[in-house]
């Protein structure tokens, strides 16, 4: 069964993923949607990843990364969490079934790394997302 894809919505009504995608080149945005659809159609652990989808570790444990490369090898990431639980728990969170929740996106030049602050920012949004019942998502 294909999963839903949902975007986190902040308390002020903004949708960080939408803002991130709006700023991406069209080719990168298309690729990110293609990967999101591939993951949603063959949810973990069915989708091998093939370099586009990977579980994160350490301080970012519990998050998954969608990866795409843009012009001049610029790196684009979507940071996601899985909404996969018992039906009653999913219902409590407001979902009709399992979902891939995209929290936000990050981008960086080739051969550079994201800073601890970058990841802290993602976790702040993710914590806000996970603290709301039902989940606050773009609609």
């Amino acid at each position: 069964m294909a999963w839903d894809v949902v975007f986190y919505r902040a308390a002020d009504g903004t949708v960080p993923v939408d803002d991130f995608l709006d700023a991406c080149p069209t080719s990168v945005r298309a690729r990110l949607f293609a990967i999101l659809d591939a993951v949603a159609e063959a949810p973990p652990p069915q989708f091998s990843g093939g370099g586009h989808w990977e579980a994160m570790h350490g301080a970012m444990g519990g998050y998954f990364e969608i990866r795409a490369q843009g012009p001049k090898r610029e790196q684009f990431r979507l940071l996601c969490v899985l909404e996969n639980a018992e039906a009653s728990e999913l219902k409590r969170r407001g979902f009709p079934g399992p979902a891939l929740a995209v929290i936000t996106g990050l981008r960086k030049p080739w051969m550079t790394t994201f800073s601890a602050n970058d990841y802290t920012g993602v976790r702040l949004l993710g914590d806000d997302y996970r603290s709301t019942i039902p989940r606050r998502i773009a609609s």
């Binding site: 839903d4 894809v5 949902v6 298309a30 586009h52 998502i137």
Partner: protein
């Protein structure tokens, strides 16, 4: 007990539909879907054969002369697998990579399909 209402989860599908109305987006999207599906199919078939043979990723790495981390990354990380590595893994797993024509292609035998 009152029914818990579910949240509207259609935002993504609506945005996707809007994006696909743009020709440039659609072309890149469709190209990416084909590429992702083909790479995923090959990697999943290789991994399934590895598991069926009871071989660990480290075993497979040793047999093709690569570091275990290299093989692990082939299945998950941001790398573009080298064709010769894919062929070596297929060979060790008793399979081969073959190019076959799509039914609609106007050539005798030339688009890719995995037969791992």
């Amino acid at each position: 007990m009152a029914e818990i209402p579910t949240t509207d989860t259609s935002h993504y599908q609506r945005r996707r539909a809007r994006e696909l109305a743009d020709a440039e987006f659609r072309e890149e999207y469709e190209r990416a879907r084909v590429e992702i599906a083909q790479v995923d199919t090959i990697m999943r078939q290789l991994d399934a054969r590895r598991e069926a043979s009871g071989m660990s990723k480290a075993d497979l790495a040793r047999l093709i002369g690569k570091n275990p981390s290299t093989v692990r990354r082939l299945f998950t990380a941001e790398v573009n697998p080298e064709l010769k590595t894919i062929v070596a893994m297929a060979s060790v797993l008793g399979a081969r990579i073959e190019i076959v024509g799509e039914p609609s292609a106007n050539t005798d035998s030339s688009t890719s399909r995995s037969v791992a």
